[in-house]
């Protein structure tokens, strides 16, 4: 049982780390703000989520587990709100058409 839990931890945390890798690479390599936003949301939601899932078997008790899940929910909430805000600022500063048409390196 312990072993199974440990395997779960290793798999999930590794998965979380992978999504952080993916998110970071996306942040760095994707050409414009909106696609980068797409990368960000994956890292946010799944990265933290999988780390939380991985740590659940290591938690000392139900309270800790609940707090872990709560942290994830907060991250989900803030992630979605922030991506909304980012998208809106992008749309507000330059219209979507502009941003898409010009492709990489959005206008300042």
């Amino acid at each position: 049982m312990r072993l199974a839990l440990d395997v779960l931890t290793i798999v999930a945390v590794s998965g979380g780390a992978f999504f952080f890798l993916a998110g970071t690479v996306g942040m760095l390599r994707f050409p414009d703000t909106l696609t980068r936003l797409h990368a960000l949301t994956k890292a946010d939601n799944l990265g933290v989520g999988l780390v939380v899932v991985g740590l659940l078997p290591q938690a000392a008790g139900p309270r800790e587990a609940a707090e872990l899940l709560g942290t994830w929910l907060l991250v989900l909430l803030s992630g979605s709100v922030v991506s909304q805000l980012v998208a809106r600022t992008v749309f507000a500063t330059d219209r979507l058409g502009d941003a898409l048409a010009r492709g990489p390196g959005p206008p300042r």
Binding site: I10, V13, G16, M27, L28, Q58, S78, G79, V86, T89
Partner: protein, 96 residues
């Protein structure tokens, strides 16, 4: 197990450091905001992992607090269009 968690923690920290490059390049505030958000999430994940490594349950409180405040920087970023003396016209405030 501790060694694995520590290594994952180190990996996520390196990812976090790479995210800095985006803050560096921008080119605009929206990108910086996202990079900051990514750094925030990575920081929260790191804090959780560090708590597990150190076996200190109170550390989750720190991660929880960070999660609670994770939106703050971004909100301040978008609200700044409004943070003027009240004499200014609030009509252009559609971006928030």
């Amino acid at each position: 197990m501790t060694a694995f968690l520590t290594a994952s923690l180190g990996f996520i920290l390196v990812m976090l450091a790479l995210g800095l490059v985006r803050i560096l390049h921008g080119p605009r505030d929206a990108d910086r905001m996202m990079a900051a958000q990514l750094i925030g999430s990575a920081g929260i994940a790191s804090t959780l992992l560090l708590g597990a490594v150190n076996r200190s349950p109170a550390t989750i409180d720190v991660a929880f607090t960070l999660g609670l405040l994770a939106t703050f920087a971004s909100i301040a970023f978008v609200k700044k269009g409004l943070s003027r003396l009240e004499v200014e016209d609030p009509g252009s405030a559609g971006d928030a």
